[in-house]
Symmetry: C2
Subunit: 349 residues, 2 copies
C-alpha cells in the first residue's frame, strides 16, 4: 500500500475497559505512534489507567464527559465509552480497536498494519451497486471482472471499513458455548464492498470510518438492560452498524468488509454461559431488528447523516416502539445523540 | 471437505474449443476420472477430437446436435457449445470448466479439487438474505458472526457456484490491453453468498450448478454479431449469469462466489486489441443490460425456472427490444431455449 496518509486527519480511539494498556499499546507502537490517540476510560472503571510513554494521546475520563456534555441520557459505560471519542474527535478518519486486540500476522507471518489498511479502505472507492467477483478492484494486482459495467467502475466514497478477527472470532454467546475451542485461523486476503441494501452486523472491535461523512450515524443507541463488558453481551455495535449501513446506502456511500485482521485475545474467560442469559434477549430482538432495517427507506429530504438518524429515530419509535420498550429508548438515544453531536461540534468551532 | 458425493448425480461438461484435450484431461485426471464427462465439440471445429484413455465420457458433435434437437435458432458455436451439454445431461449437478484451465494450487502449494469444492458449495446452504462478514459459515472453522439473526442461519438451497481464476483473471478486452502483463496471484480462501438483489457477472469458465433447480435458466441467449472464441469477446455467459441470478433471487435460491480457483492459461494470444473491436459493443450494451436486470421483478405465478425465463423473455422484448435488435434476438433465444429444454427433457423420459 503506497498510500499517502496525512497523519493529521486521523484519530485512533481506544475505549479502555482494562486499566493496564501497556501490553496493548506496546504491541501497536509501530502502527499507532505516528497518530493522535484518544483514550476513553470506561466511566465505571475505578483503577488508574496505565499507558506507556511515547504516544501522542489524550485521556478522557468520567469527569471530562460531565464537563463536556453535561447531563445526558446516553450511557457511555463499557464498550460504549468509545462513542465519546467519536464525539470529541475533530478528525476526518477514525480508527477504533478494542483493547484486547493485537496486530495480526498474515499467512507469510508478516505483521499487518491494521491502521494503514483501514485508511486504504476508506481512501479508495467502494462499489456497492454491482458485485465484483474479483473482490476489491482497487487492490494491487486486481481489477474489475469482465462484464462489470464501466459506468459503475468509478465507485463511490467509502465511509465505513469493517475489519475482522483472527484467533477469537466475533461469535455470539450461544455459538461460543457450542464451539468453545474454535479458533479462527483462516486469513482471507480480501476486502469487499457490502452491496447496496444488504444488511450486515458490523462489529465495534476493529473499525474505521470517515467521521465527516457518517460520524453521527455511529450511535450508541441500543442497550440491553445490564449490557455487559464482554463483546458477546453487547448489542450497541450491531445496532450502530445497521444504522450506519442504512445511512451509507441512502447517501450513496460505501461500506467495506474484510482486511484488516486483528488478533483477538480470549474474551471474558469462561463466562459465555452466564452471558447467554443477558444476550438471549438480544438474540430474540434481532428477529425484530433485521426486518425493520431491511424495510427502512429514508426520504429524499434527508441529505446528511444527522438528517438520516433523526428520520430513522422516528421510524424506530413508530414501528418498533410498540414491540418492546427497549426500542423506544433506542429512538430517544438516537435523537439525543444528534443533539450531542451538534452541541459538541459547535464547541469545537 | 468430508462431503458425501454421489458420483451418479454429477456430469462434468467440457466445451471443446481445441482439438487436443490431452494435456487438459491429464491435468484433471485425479478429479475427473470418477465422474461422467460430457464433451461437446465446438460445431465449427473441423479437426478430430483427441481425448486420452480412461475417462467415462460421451462426445457430442454437430451431427448429434442436429439429430437430437433438429432445427433451432440457437447458436451452439464457440463457448456456447457447452450449453448443449446442459441440455442433454440428466444429472442433478453440472460442473463446467473451460478447456484452457488447469487445477490450481493453494498458497501451501497443494493442488485443489475444483469439482469437490463446487459440489460442497452446491450441497451446503447459501445465505442471501443477510451478509455474514465471516464468509461461508458452513466451512470448517467458521460460523455466523455475532448479530446474525438465528432465523436466517438455516439458509436456502444453493443453485449456482461461481469459481475464480488464478494466473489469467477474467478481464474484458479493454482491461486486458491496459494491463497486458497482470497475473492474478492472490488466492482468496473464501466462498461467499452473493446477496439477494445484488447483480454480478458470472463467468462460464469455472462454474457449477444444480440442473434440477435452475437448469433452464442457464441460457445461451445473448450473442453479439460475430461473437468470438476467446472469453473477452463473449457476452453469452454474462447474460446467462444475470438471468440465473434473477431466477435464484425469485425462487429463493442461493448463488455463491469464490473458491474453487482454476489456473487459467494464456487466452487467445495477443488479440485483445482485435477483440476489443467486437467486445466494445458488449461493453456499451452492459450499460443497458445492468439497469434492466436490476429492475426485473418476476410475478408470483412464476414458480419454476422455465416460468421465470419465459417471463424474463417477455420483459427483455418489451423493455430492451426497442433499444437494440440484439435484445429482441436474445428474447427469442430465451423462449426457444425453454422449448428445447422441455423437448429434450421429454426425450430423456
Amino acid at each position: 500500500m503506497s498510500f499517502q496518509i496525512n497523519e493529521n486527519e486521523v484519530d485512533i480511539i481506544i475505549g479502555a475497559l482494562r486499566p493496564d494498556l501497556t501490553a496493548f499499546m506496546e504491541a501497536w507502537r509501530a502502527f499507532f505512534s505516528k497518530f493522535h490517540l484518544i483514550v476513553i476510560k470506561d466511566p465505571d472503571m475505578k483503577e488508574e489507567l496505565k499507558i506507556p510513554q511515547g504516544f501522542d494521546h489524550k485521556i478522557y475520563t468520567k469527569s471530562d464527559m460531565e464537563k463536556i456534555i453535561g447531563t445526558t441520557s446516553i450511557n457511555f459505560s463499557g464498550h460504549s465509552c468509545r462513542y465519546f471519542g467519536y464525539l470529541v474527535s475533530s478528525k476526518k478518519y477514525i480508527i477504533s480497536i478494542d483493547d484486547n486486540c493485537f496486530p495480526a500476522h498474515d499467512p507469510n507471518n508478516n505483521i499487518t498494519d491494521a491502521v494503514a489498511q483501514h485508511l486504504t479502505n476508506l481512501q479508495t472507492p467502494a462499489t456497492p451497486f454491482f458485485f465484483n467477483t474479483l473482490y476489491d478492484p482497487y487492490t494491487k494486482g486486481a481489477d474489475f471482472v469482465r462484464g462489470y459495467p464501466f459506468s459503475l467502475r468509478v465507485g463511490v466514497d467509502c465511509a465505513l471499513s469493517c475489519g475482522l478477527w483472527l484467533n477469537i472470532a466475533d461469535y455470539d454467546a450461544p455459538t461460543q458455548i457450542v464451539k468453545p475451542r474454535e479458533r479462527n485461523t483462516r486469513y482471507v486476503d480480501a476486502v469487499l464492498t457490502v452491496p447496496l441494501q444488504t444488511m450486515m452486523p458490523a462489529s465495534g472491535i476493529n473499525l474505521g470510518f470517515n467521521r465527516e461523512l457518517i460520524g453521527p450515524a455511529l450511535i450508541p443507541g441500543f442497550r440491553l438492560a445490564g449490557e455487559g463488558k464482554v463483546r458477546w453481551e453487547t448489542m450497541e455495535d450491531i445496532w450502530c452498524g445497521m444504522c450506519a449501513k442504512i445511512v451509507c446506502d441512502h447517501l450513496k456511500l460505501g461500506v467495506k468488509s474484510g482486511l484488516p485482521y486483528v488478533h483477538r485475545g480470549i474474551e471474558g474467560g469462561d463466562n459465555a454461559m452466564e452471558s447467554l442469559k443477558k444476550e438471549w434477549e438480544g438474540v430474540k430482538l434481532m428477529e425484530e431488528i433485521v426486518p425493520f432495517f431491511q424495510s427502512v427507506r429514508l426520504p429524499r429530504t434527508a441529505v446528511t447523516a444527522e438528517d438520516c438518524v433523526v428520520e430513522m429515530a422516528k421510524m424506530v419509535k413508530e414501528k418498533l416502539g410498540v414491540v418492546n420498550p427497549v426500542f423506544g429508548r433506542a429512538a430517544d438515544a438516537m435523537e439525543e445523540w444528534v443533539r450531542l453531536w451538534k452541541a459538541v461540534g459547535s464547541q469545537k468551532i
